[in-house]
Amino acid sequence: MTLHPLLEPGWQLAVLPELILSGGGMLLILFDAFLPRAKSALAPLALIVFIATTWSERLFVQGGTYFGGTYEISPITMIFDLTFLLAGMLALLFARDYLDREGIEGGEFYALLMWGTVGMMMMAKGLDLLLIILGLEILSICIFVLVGYHRRMPVSNEASLKYFLMGAFATGFILYGTALFYGATESTNINTMARWFATTTQTTPLLTIAFVLLMSGFGFKLALAPFHPWAPDVYQGAPTPVAGWLSVAPKAATLIALVRLFNAMGPVLPKVSWMNMVATLAILSMIVGNSVAIVQRDLKRMLAYSGIAHVGYMMIAMLTVREESVAAVAVYTIVYALMNIGAFGVVSLLMKNENDPHTLDDIAGLGFRRKFFGFALALCMFSLSGLPPTAGFISKFFIFKTAIESGHTTVALIGILTSIVSVYYYLRVVYFLYMKEPAEGYEISSAGGVFAVGALTIAVAGILAIGLYPTPLFQAAGNAARALLQQ
């Protein structure tokens, strides 16, 4: 019953999560179009689609490659799929109350979230640079629209346009780099490229240019310094739950694609100075992100700069692609999803409207008034700054441990020193929450229903559970990384 030589048997199951999400998104749009009054049913339906997708991931106990060796299902793709789904679900739950408050709820919002997730899944599973780019583009288009989703707000539109123009440019870099890689290695398939790199002993200027172009493009998507200046503006303008999602999920997808690429280049990397380039990007990101975040008064901009720094930490682990380092990246992205989307989520819930900047003064004294939200935000801040007993500590510890074992002690030292700086601005949020009196005439935001509380409970429980007992997650990530690198 083979339809086409490239369609191996079982391919339907292989893309089942993607199919459910794509179809679910379309149904949601239709649902909203035909039953415009039943908006309150949209979020539960979307949640059901996400849960169904998560369940469908279970069907794959053993992996394989599909579509002519371009699509891989393996433990590592499963872990990243689950990260994307987790990020999507958290964003969805936070968005529900937020959209309701702003009066802009619509089926297409959830649909775009799902399709963006499909794009990321393709990036994580793609074994071919072209497929990765395809996934990236699906994701990017969804992001353009989601960032500008708050149509009546000029900042939102501005952010969308900014991201669109610069994102298009970055995609151009990636495409051009891919073309040059194809010219040099005669393939865009990562496994074929790996075989080519295994036989080569030296690099050509062509390859170096290709690498630089790719790193610039991916660096943009990751918001690595010096490709970061879009991030604060876009996060500030985007609807807050979207900003949280945007700061986590696309980065995770880009990182797994980079892991594959670096792994393919493995034999060449020690001989060339490419990794010094990556290390420079990591160091710059940690320094720029952490030091500029100090002077931010707007919470969303502060979290944007902190995100730049966090990608810097993740890049430390990427400097040597080993089993531990891949596992460290996988763990870090999951933890980062919990704490960063959680932090953005609370910000979206505590603010009374979206038009004004989200300044620190707005959360003054809220810690004792809205106790659970205050506690959750404080916990996210402690976790982001890497203090025990939170998941943030464990994952940062993993990164630094990997770095030292790979011999990158200097980079790890810079990472530690910049974390000391970061403690200051994360703690300042706690200071405003608990140690300041609320401003005169402050009114508490009306948002924050059962969905938001549920999402925050997931985030808080996850941060504490991983922080206190990380072993199961570490083992899963370790096994997945081993499987990835043994190919």
Partner: protein, 536 residues
């Protein structure tokens, strides 16, 4: 549940339960805090009942894999070095609840929760024998203390809280890197990952690596102690913290630094410790004198006590790096003493601040007439802090100085002037506040110390006298462990300490066995009688 785990987890479990108390039930909230912490103290007394006096190693040990892939275990154990510090922690926590019964009006629930979490962290740090576990508890105690200073503190509380946090975290994050590196080196030598300190003790390090790691660890602990010139956060934190926060900070948290030197720095890096001992001794002697001189000129009572802490903890570090059995035992005892006497002083300063809302010496005078009971307690605490023979402070300082004199006589002589200075500034304080005519009319009718404050002071005074009169009770338990520590650092190749101390292992053991009689009963012969292997 094993005793150490109970001690660690009972407070935090009680804090979780407390989170569900209604906010208005203030008496129930405070009562719960007092009840739980008292229960924890009573449980912790069980450590003494089951104590094996002859054992040098860890007792009451527990071990469960936690992050097994990395060799990180939930390993607990307690020995003669940590046992008194744990008991000090469990004793001081109910005392702050008792003393602060009427003092805390703002968010009492969160206040009690913060202190219970702190108790968990402090006990955990003292009994963890896995380096990562220690680190986690070591950092965990920062967060509640940050909130305690920042939420319940004085006028400049924010500045003080952030300064406290940043100073401490800067040191401890560098130590984290050093811990990871140490674990990495040990992994290669052991063949399997482990962060258990017993495994790590034997790690062979090249001199350069050892020096780097030594400085990373020492920086973290020196900030915590705090050692001159890293002490600047301490006066701010103490002055701004509420009374309970000051008591815990001075009583227990600062001891994390000195404990860290004893437990980790000396045995992990014996050669570096020996090589840089002079530096640390110099800094601690400067701290002793400098802290005393600055305390002398303070117009604020709390600041005066805070600077006296800098001075007194200088003695502890001095005793540690003098590296003789006497001085180290003195140092551990002095940690406990300082917790008792400075804790009592902070408590008493808090009592009067509650009544008069000023801590300036100039606002007082002659209140010994209006508050006789209060004055009595205050003077006992001051005399204990000064080092009056018969009270605890004398024994600790005497042991430290006697031990230090053998290896670093100059340092001992200079440090001894610190004792004189302490007498000057503390008695000066007493004279100004309590004696003479009543200069300020407002002081004529201050209510005397209340029942709950008396109840909080009594155990402290009892212990001050007990340690002062019969220190053997306390020294006996720590002796085998300190001996063991001396073996660890003395037996290393190239260790000059053995020669400098003029004794082999056998000598030292003989010397220390008859030590209790030498030290405790007759005070004078100790100085003239060289103890550990005086034959050379």
């Amino acid at each position: 549940m094993p005793i150490l785990s109970t001690l660690i987890w009972a407070p935090v479990a009680a804090a979780i339960v407390l989170a569900f108390f209604p906010n208005r039930a203030q008496t129930a909230i405070k009562g719960w805090g007092l009840f739980v912490s008292t229960a924890v103290f009573i449980i912790s007394l069980g450590l003494l009942r089951g104590w094996d006096d002859g054992r040098a190693g860890f007792q009451f040990t527990e071990d469960k894999p936690w992050i097994a892939d990395w060799g990180i275990h939930y390993s607990l154990g307690i020995d003669g070095i940590s046992v008194w510090l744990v008991l000090l922690t469990t004793l001081l926590t109910p005392i702050i609840f008792l003393a602060g019964w009427n003092a805390i009006h703002k968010h009492p629930k969160e206040y009690v929760i913060a202190f219970l979490i702190m108790e968990t962290a402090m006990i955990g740090a003292f009994v963890a024998i896995d380096l990562i576990l220690f680190y986690i508890f070591f950092e965990l105690m920062l967060l509640p203390m940050y909130l305690v200073i920042g939420v319940w503190g004085g006028a400049r509380r924010i500045y003080a809280a952030i300064k406290f946090f940043l100073f401490t975290i800067a040191g401890s994050l560098l130590m984290l890197l050093a811990i990871i590196y140490l674990g990495f080196v040990a992994y290669h030598q052991l063949g399997e990952p482990s962060f258990n300190i017993l495994d790590l003790y034997g790690t062979q390090l090249t001199p350069r690596v050892q020096a780097l790691l030594f400085f990373a660890f020492s920086l973290a602990f020196a900030i915590k102690v705090p050692l001159f010139p890293l002490h600047t956060w301490l006066p701010d934190a103490h002055v701004e913290a509420p009374t309970g926060g000051s008591i815990i900070l001075a009583g227990v948290m600062l001891k994390m630094g000195t404990y860290g030197f004893l437990r980790f720095v000396l045995p992990f890096f014996p050669q570096s410790s020996e090589r840089w001992a002079t530096l640390l001794i110099t800094l601690s002697v400067i701290g002793i004198i400098y802290g005393a001189l600055v305390a002398w000129v303070q117009p604020d009572m709390k600041k005066l006590v805070a600077y006296s802490s800098v001075s007194h903890l200088g003695f502890c570090v001095l005793g540690i790096f003098a590296m003789t059995q006497t001085s180290i035992e003195g140092s551990i005892l002095q940690m406990v003493n300082h917790g008792l006497s400075t804790g009592a002083l902070f408590l008493l300063v808090g009592v009067i601040y509650e009544r008069r809302h000023t801590r300036l010496l100039a606002d007082y005078g002659g209140i010994g007439k209006t508050m006789p009971v209060y004055a009595t307690f205050f003077i006992i605490a001051v005399l204990s802090s000064v080092g009056l023979p018969g009270l605890n402070g004398f024994v600790g300082e005497f042991l430290i100085l006697a031990g230090t004199f053998k290896t670093h006589p100059t340092a001992a002589i200079i440090a001894a002037t610190g004792v004189i200075l302490a007498a000057i500034y503390l008695l000066w304080l007493v004279q100004k506040v309590f004696f003479g005519p009543i200069t300020n009319e407002e002081n004529r009718h201050i209510p005397d110390i209340a029942w709950n404050e008396i109840a909080a002071m009594i155990p402290l005074v009892v212990l001050m006298v007990w340690i002062g009169v019969h220190p053997t009770t306390f020294l006996r338990k720590m002796e085998p462990s300190v001996q063991h520590l001396m073996t660890q650092i003395g037996a290393e190749p190239g260790g000059k300490m053995m020669v400098a101390q003029g004794g082999s292992q056998a000598h030292r053991r003989i010397g220390s066995q008859d030590r209790p009689t030498t030290v405790c009963e007759p005070m004078s012969p100790c100085a003239s009688e060289p103890r550990s292997g005086g034959a050379q």
